[in-house]
């Protein structure tokens, strides 16, 4: 009997010690029950801890964008921490730590959804140069419905079409983004680009392949006649300006024509290209001339040099005096067929007294004549010397008396 009692007592004590021991263990530590360490964003993330104590320690939680603290819900011996949406919806590592005198900590990973919702696409530059050197870059960031970038290694298909060729290439996301350099072709034209990731398609993107810089070219000249009548207009033309790959340069390419005359002076005319051709115009000189012409696209290309000659038309200048020598008539000024020179031919009269230039008058012809009248109020009755200049000729009339 006594023996039995002993055994009973012994067992009772044993049970008591074991159970109290267990209690002690549980009291000291709160153990993590959740074994899952990777969750898809958007799902409900519940971290569960076993706890024998009726304590509800807070859980510190920090993700890619910020940190917060979560209050648990205690269900019997289980502490439930529901990770709030703004953390559960963002991909990346989430680190947690129990704020408890025996702190446990850990982390889990929120991974993006397996479905692409939007393709953030950046393309640039929007225009590139033809040839094999220039390129544009397509950057694609495929993101899921919760705006999380896809994991590394997600395949992205890049489609691009240029003229008649269509190409497809597969690239992969790496460090959040995926990118592809798309080179220009030798021809100019428009490049159409689109991307695709996990069966989600981007919109269409276009990049213009513009002609490269022009290469050297030739110029030509066109004029109604070869006479220096100061009236007709000479036109200069470029050949079709092309880049190194025979693309016609963009309209509006600026071409400057430099015209150097006999005296070494430079006249400038300019034009912009239309369909590769630039045109510029210059009025004919009024005296015999020899022009040397060369055109440039500044800093890029130049033309050959051409020269053009203009023949003298006015051979002789006749002068007549009237009204006490105060009216000076120059003319008739005759052109290449002895016709009266077209209106607007320039004649200059210079009035000297004792070799001092008193006055210069410039007039243009009308019906082949130019007449100057000298006012009494300006020129007192006296002796003056006149010089008439026109068509490169100069005629001196010394000691003319006005009265």
């Amino acid at each position: 009997m006594k023996y039995k009692q002993h055994i009973f007592l012994f067992i009772a004590i044993l049970i008591a010690t074991i159970s109290t021991g267990q209690e002690k263990d549980q009291g000291n530590s709160i153990g993590l029950l959740t074994s899952q360490t990777e969750f898809e964003v958007g799902s409900t993330v519940l971290l569960q801890f076993s706890s024998a104590e009726a304590v509800t320690p807070l859980l510190y939680c920090s993700n890619s964008y910020g940190s917060t603290v979560i209050t648990p819900v205690l269900e019997e011996t289980t502490l439930n921490y529901e990770i709030p949406d703004f953390i559960a919806n963002k991909s990346g590592l989430v680190h947690w730590k129990l704020i408890h005198n025996n702190p446990t900590s850990g982390s889990f990973v929120m991974s993006p959804q397996q479905h692409v919702a939007t393709m953030e696409t950046y393309i640039g530059p929007p225009t590139i140069e033809a040839g094999d050197i220039d390129y544009t870059m397509l950057v694609v960031i495929p993101t899921d419905a919760l705006d999380n970038p896809m994991p590394e290694g997600t395949p992205v298909m890049v489609h691009h079409r240029f003229l008649d060729t269509q190409t497809e290439e597969e690239i992969e996301t790496k460090k959040i983004i995926s990118y592809k350099n798309i080179s220009s072709r030798r021809k100019s034209g428009r490049l159409f680009i689109a991307a695709e990731c996990l069966e989600t398609h981007s919109t269409e993107y276009t990049v213009d392949v513009l002609p490269a810089i022009p290469t050297d070219f030739t110029i030509s000249v066109d004029r109604p006649h070869e006479y220096a009548d100061g009236n007709q207009i000479t036109s200069f033309y470029t050949s079709i300006l092309r880049d190194a790959h025979a693309n016609i340069v963009s309209d509006g390419t600026f071409v400057t024509f430099f015209i150097r005359n006999k005296a070494g002076n430079v006249l400038k005319a300019s034009g912009t290209t239309v369909q590769g051709i630039a045109t510029a115009k210059m009025i004919h000189p009024d005296q015999e001339e020899q022009w040397t012409v060369q055109a440039y696209v500044d800093g890029m290309a130049e033309s050959n040099t051409i020269s053009i000659a203009y023949q003298q038309v006015v051979e002789n200048v006749e002068i007549a005096f009237a009204k006490a020598n105060r009216e000076i008539q120059v003319g008739p000024l005759k052109s290449f067929m002895n016709q009266m020179i077209p209106d607007g031919f320039q004649v200059v009269l210079e009035v000297y007294k004792d070799n001092v230039l008193l006055e210069t008058y410039t007039k243009t012809s009308r019906k082949g004549y130019v007449s100057f009248s000298l006012e009494e109020a300006i020129f007192k009755n006296d002796t003056y010397t006149f010089t008439i200049k026109t068509a490169g000729l100069e005629k001196n009339l010394p000691n003319i008396k006005l009265w």
């Binding site: 910020g66 991909s91 640039g124």
Partner: protein, 502 residues
């Protein structure tokens, strides 16, 4: 007659009211017409002021895509750090101002959500980042998009719930970040945390076993607490150092004031004067303990990066100096416990101690606690413990033995002690010069008995004490003036004999 007066009063008051109303309306009108400066549209007028300057160590540039230029990289860095800064402010105040400048429309939402949750739960996060190690991964051809991996970002965080501090943590984390150039700002588009661990302080330095310090706290007589100002005179310093050396002492403790030295942008001329002081000490064979952050009292987490920049500049420019003996992080920080909170001050000290240790691995670091009780705080972080003692001499031995027992592995330095010989209207029962001499005689006895490394306060009696030191009260000021071994006239006081004991 009476009616006339009444009438004129009425008319005058009417005119006054009209004048006031018209004046008000016209000033409102002109205010509304001032308009914004056009330049503000482009945000070009933003002035760069240092408000957040963690250490940023860029990896060499081997990025994919377009080659990076230094100027763009600097812009990116500035905007990126600003993005961190506005985020820290936002989480500290739970407001959203500034976020839209540095986060794109989609990225902003993530911060707003966190702020909304934290506001609701009464959570406040005070945080700062101390180090960034970014690598430029990618720069797009059109110069509008970059990808950065920011490795081992050292983040210090302090979380409050309902205004109670619940967690303090230092972590290192790695982020991948996509930034877009929008409206002239590099804005964060995506941010993904990839790695995180608890920050562990690097251990260094074999524990110091024994040190011997026989020194004195030093300020020039004419310019106390303004040692590196306009009154800086190398000749005076040289003469004083000679006196100190001749008295048998071997070291001095000097103070670098945070504001005076220019906060985060340490002024070069002050630094030169500090260097010159150490040069002179070297010439007179004295070692120098430099006390940093004097008169600094903020400790705010968002101030940390500025504090570190200040310390980095001074520590790295002096760490090779042969006269340098040790760094005292801060003088009597425990006096700020009440106003700033013990945890806040301690966290700052721990961070700064570890930072100075890392910046200068060769010199010991300590904190000049104002009493022995505080000296136990952070005992594991300092290389030697120092405390100040101005109490009754009878207790010194016990205090020292107590500290020795508490901290058996590290040397304990008595880095300030002394007695004022002021006795006058403001303190008729003060100590006389003879009392002061007796005090020093006795304390030198205790110091010699226990071989306590020690530094007394101070060489001179001062004429002027700035109000920042002990306040404006005349009895405190006058008391503070007469701690010296040499009086205001320049004569040795009775205590001078006991400045040091073999």
């Amino acid at each position: 007659m009476n009616r006339n007066i009444l009438r004129s009063i009425l008319i005058i008051s009417y005119m006054i009211i009209i004048a006031v109303i018209i004046g008000g309306i016209s000033s409102l009108y002109s205010y509304l017409n001032t308009g914004a400066d056009r330049a503000t549209i482009l945000h070009t007028e933003i002035q760069k002021i240092d408000q957040y300057i963690p250490d940023v160590y860029w990896a060499p540039l081997y990025n994919e895509g377009r080659p990076m230029d230094q100027e763009t990289l600097e812009r990116i860095e500035n905007n990126y750090l600003d993005a961190w800064y506005v985020k820290q402010i936002a989480y500290k105040t739970n407001t959203t101002s500034g976020i839209e400048d540095y986060y794109t429309e989609n990225a902003r939402k993530n911060l707003y959500n966190t702020i909304a949750h934290n506001t609701e739960e009464g959570i406040v996060v005070e945080a700062t980042t101390l180090e960034h190690h970014p690598t430029l991964e990618f720069f797009s051809e059109d110069g509008q998009l970059v990808v950065i991996t920011d490795y081992d970002v050292v983040e210090y965080k302090r979380l409050y719930k309902d205004e109670v501090l619940i967690l303090e943590t230092t972590e290192t984390a790695t982020y991948k970040i996509v930034l877009l150039l929008e409206d002239g700002f590099w804005r964060i588009r995506h941010m993904v945390k990839e790695h995180q661990e608890v920050y562990t302080e690097k251990e260094r330095f074999d524990t110091l076993k024994d040190i011997s310090v026989k020194g004195i706290n030093y300020y020039p007589q004419a310019t106390p607490w303004d040692m590196f100002g306009d009154g800086f005179d190398p000749e005076i310093l040289s003469k004083d150092f000679q006196i100190i050396k001749d008295a048998g002492l071997e070291s001095i403790r000097i103070f670098v004031q945070y504001d005076d030295f220019g906060k985060a942008n340490v002024q070069e001329d002050k630094l030169q004067k500090l260097k010159q002081t150490l040069d002179l000490a070297e010439r007179h064979n004295l070692k120098v303990m430099v006390t940093l952050f004097d008169f600094y009292g903020d400790y705010a987490v968002l101030d940390w990066t500025l504090n570190r920049r200040h310390a980095a500049t001074i520590v790295s420019s002096l760490k090779e100096h042969p006269a340098l003996y040790a760094w005292d992080i801060k003088n009597e920080p425990n006096l700020d416990f009440e106003s700033r909170g013990e945890k806040q001050v301690t966290a700052w000290l721990q961070m700064m101690t570890s930072f100075v240790k890392n910046t200068d691995p060769d010199h010991p670091v300590t904190i000049g606690w104002s009493n022995a009780e505080s000296a136990i705080i952070l005992k594991d972080h300092v290389d030697f413990v120092s405390f100040h003692f101005y109490e009754d001499l009878d207790t010194l031995e016990d205090v020292y033995l107590y500290l020795n027992e508490e901290i058996p592995t590290k040397p304990i330095v008595l880095s300030e002690f002394g007695m004022s010989s002021y006795k006058g209207i403001w303190n008729p029962f003060g100590n006389s010069e003879n009392d002061q001499a007796t005090y020093h005689k006795e304390i030198q006895g205790i110091i010699a008995k226990h071989k306590i490394p020690s530094m007394s306060w101070t060489l001179y009696d001062f004429v002027e004490i700035p109000k920042e030191v002990v306040g404006r009260l005349p009895w405190q000021k006058n008391n503070q003036k007469q701690f010296g071994f040499i009086n205001q006239k320049g004569d040795e006081k009775a205590a001078f004999k006991y400045i040091f004991k073999e």
